[in-house]
Symmetry: C2
Subunit: 201 residues, 2 copies
């Protein structure tokens, strides 16, 4: 099995779907992915046609997405609740998830954060919400939160964004397998096939 990178942004509900599916696969022993938190905002800001740091879709597409997410989650038996505050502010959680890669709690933390954001209708930009999550994973919540206010943690996340751009990433979730890029939760199965050597072209 090739190395499987999962690039995700906590603001993205389609990242949530991919995260839940990948977490389930990992628990079933099927796949060990490398979870790579990043931010789409800085990448969106560089777009030529629309430099807003988010996806400013029109009313028809917004209505569609709401329904599409509901349907997709039902299809994959994933709990779903569109958060009142959408998209969630993902900066602090992303810094923490990047920080936790060294200590090894990034994936478990990310799963918990996604659940709060897209099943629990809970703000994920509040240290008071994230501290007990960290503590529950055995991390030193105070130290981790303090570290994420300092330049090195900010630089680490900025570096992750640059690394994502270097891989050609422009959206979330994205999967990278042996340099091959897949974008969107609906390409997860294709990326998994690729990792198992099923490469039609």
């Amino acid at each position: 099995m090739s190395a499987f990178e999962f690039w995700h942004d906590f603001a993205s509900p389609y990242s949530y779907i991919a995260a839940m599916r990948l977490d389930r696969l990992a628990r079933d022993g099927g796949l060990r992915a490398e979870w790579r938190p990043f931010l789409l905002g800085p990448i969106f800001r560089k777009r030529r046609a629309d430099g807003q740091p988010f996806q400013d879709v029109g009313p028809a597409e917004r209505r569609y997405r709401t329904r599409d997410l509901e349907r997709l989650c039902a299809r994959h038996a994933i709990p779903w609740r569109l958060p009142d505050r959408y998209p969630p502010a993902s900066l602090l959680a992303a810094r923490l998830a990047e920080h936790g890669r060294v200590a090894g709690w990034s994936q478990a933390f990310s799963v918990a954060v996604y659940g709060l954001a897209f099943a629990g209708n809970t703000r994920i930009d509040d240290p008071a919400v994230l501290a007990p999550v960290l503590a529950g994973l055995g991390a030193d919540a105070g130290a981790a939160l303090a570290a994420c206010a300092e330049p090195p943690a900010k630089a680490a996340l900025a570096s992750a964004v640059a690394e994502a751009e270097g891989r050609g990433i422009f959206g979330a979730p994205s999967f990278v397998v042996d340099g091959e890029l897949f974008w969107g939760s609906d390409r997860l199965d294709h990326a998994l096939d690729w990792a198992q050597g099923n490469r039609p072209v």
Copy 2:
């Protein structure tokens, strides 16, 4: 089996993929879809964030799409050649396809046009290219091409665009089953499931 509407734009390579898959399903006796040609341009022009009549994606997404289409077509065993002139100018073909709905040759014509555009690297805005396609289907090519230069055929296509908007359509391909909208070639299987009564939510 519920009524299955397939809304497509000849400029869209993902519409091509859906068209080839639906045509194969129809020939296998699995599904009779109603093929509905329309134009995305007039819908894109109304977008707030980007009023261009096409999708002005950045270089990273453009590179990705090229590879994604190649991979998807290989996965589905569909021939593929990115046309030199991309996106193809779809207006004339769309008018003809709409015109052919009454006579019953719209679907066969559309399949042929998609093959020319995305496997044959052939311009589809040239009457000299489309006339033999029409003739091969038993249509009066001269009469059909003449009709498509007249106000009623123009109005019929404009009306199809308005009908698409009325269904909440904002991209192509789209599928509508009992008022339920699905967008994108990667939702085709979900739409087919829906048509067969598998409706998780």
